[in-house]
Symmetry: C2
Subunit: 323 residues, 2 copies
């Protein structure tokens, strides 16, 4: 959410000279991403986003993320496309940081998505899953089911400081998930963080997906479960069945969920709620004293989790049980 | 340097609907300004900067700053121009904050200005002074000579914590300035903060001036003295006479300094160095413990001040003593 590394005009002009993108016209540090520095760069030919990778993203994963964005954008998924330097490279260095430049995507995220946004999101998610099917790199999901218990142990003793009973709730849920977590669903590269902030719309169209820095290999239907959590609950915690139906119909219209994926949706949705409950709780307990940015409230995901615990069929999310 | 107030897509679209600027295509929070929130807004017709005024800038001064930008831009000074809503208003409200939108200025600031940049800066500064001559609002300089002693008293007892001897240096300098500060020079509205970050270049041309939020009434030549401090010293503290000459020649080519202004330049330059030494020292002592942004080093201005103390003629800055 800040510019951690300042790039001077000379550094940026030298950097751009290695690309076939025209000359520098303007650039602004932008408040985007959590721990990287991002600049919006306007050249005489187009606009780009230049990212300087600071800390959180391991640079060894960057070829995966950038390769994925290039792979899916070549297959019709609208997302930022890495720009190659004249020597063919995507990764470079600016101001002492590993850096990459991607194309600028018109559009903006919608704070309060409607059902038609959810339908378009469902379609785009399925298109992404079809496009990643031919991507030949892989990356394990560090925040997948096997990572939840170790993450919880880092703050288990302080969990009730967020809300009384949270420790016991998570404890019980992790046990339940561990014994019921599906292992035979179709897998592939998933986005894993497709919240409304990471989806741009322009007019009535979905204009693109951004922020692939959590992408990893996992069950494709788990990505759908994440999106149900991220798009279909109202601010008061109520599940909006119309939005759920729209999202699932949108997905099915491009890639139809299998009967096994449908059957697993309730447990996948519980798992997705638990994953965000865990990271939000951890971030909440470890927030800097005078942080400018308030971390997301973990309790939003307690409400979601409690809802999912009452669900035993995808029908409750607006889907149908199968063929 | 951050987005303090988040503007949602709905809020921004409603805001833009009150203007004749087309529809929203993209927007990004940008890391610009010190205590305001700024967005770069792309519409279907043009780019704009939307500023939400947070704390430091008193909203009662905004008609002065925005009126000044409009006044000088109408007179050929390239700077962001406030955009009027359909009802004629410039000031509006977005997300609970007073807000204004200005045109986007191509170009970017130069970290290491060369002599030709200084010449163009000098010309632009003189053009600004001619243009402000017909501006009929005024605003006292809270950081002018009469404000220095009260500001110093806020940290006098802690000054030697920055550098041994600083208290005595400033004490003596304030006494000297108080007895020698000129009061009969030509006055008008000055920019008062025309550092290299606030001047954009594009190719070989100066493309515009930004950040008028310190503008106030004071001696015009004091603005020149501020620029000599801000543009003509090297990183090691040495004064670059070539740059000084270029700046003064550029200024004189548009508005020739009077003999009195020339004679006063050494004391004005001392005063300007003292003003930035004072605010930087204050900011240094009052920086937040874990601030992302390191405040400017006050000692840069100790070095400048010591140089000016040895100067007794504008000739030492590259100027000539009179007609």
């Amino acid at each position: 959410m800040a510019v951690y590394t300042e790039v001077t005009d000379d550094e940026l002009s030298s950097f751009l000279a290695r690309y076939d993108v025209g000359t520098l016209v303007a650039y602004k540090g932008i408040a985007e991403g959590v721990e990287n520095t991002n600049y919006l760069v306007q050249t005489s030919t187009a606009r780009f986003i230049l990212t300087l990778y600071e800390k959180r993203v391991s640079t060894s994963d960057l070829p995966f993320f950038l390769g994925l964005m290039e792979h899916v954008s070549e297959r019709g998924v609208s997302c930022p496309r890495p720009v190659h330097a004249r020597d063919g490279q995507i990764l470079s260095e600016v101001a002492g940081r590993t850096a990459a430049m991607v194309t600028f995507l018109d559009g903006f995220s919608v704070r309060k998505p409607r059902a038609d946004h959810c339908h378009k999101l469902g379609r785009a998610l399925a298109q992404l899953h079809l496009a990643t099917g031919t991507f030949n790199q892989s990356r394990p999901n560090a925040l997948g089911e096997s990572g939840w218990r170790p993450l919880f142990e880092k703050f288990r003793s302080r969990a009730d400081g967020i809300a009384p009973g949270l420790q016991s709730l998570i404890d019980g849920e992790l046990k339940a998930l561990h014994s019921s977590w599906p292992s035979t669903l179709p897998t592939g590269v998933i986005h894993a963080d497709l919240f409304p902030d990471n989806v741009f719309f322009l007019g009535d169209s979905l204009s693109g997906l951004i922020d692939f820095y959590f992408a990893c290999n996992d069950a494709l239907a788990y990505d759908v479960a994440i999106s149900l959590n991220a798009w279909c609950f109202e601010q008061d915690g109520a599940f909006n069945l119309t939005k759920g139906r729209a999202l699932l119909e949108g997905y099915d219209s491009v890639r139809r969920l299998t009967p096994e994926e449908r059957a697993a949706m309730p447990v996948l949705a519980r798992g997705a709620a638990t994953r965000f409950l865990l990271t939000r709780s951890y971030d909440w307990l470890n927030r800097p004293a005078n942080a400018i940015v308030t971390p997301h409230d973990p309790l939003d995901y307690v409400r979601r989790l409690r809802f999912h615990q009452t669900v035993h069929s995808i029908v409750a999310y607006g889907g149908s049980e199968g063929r």
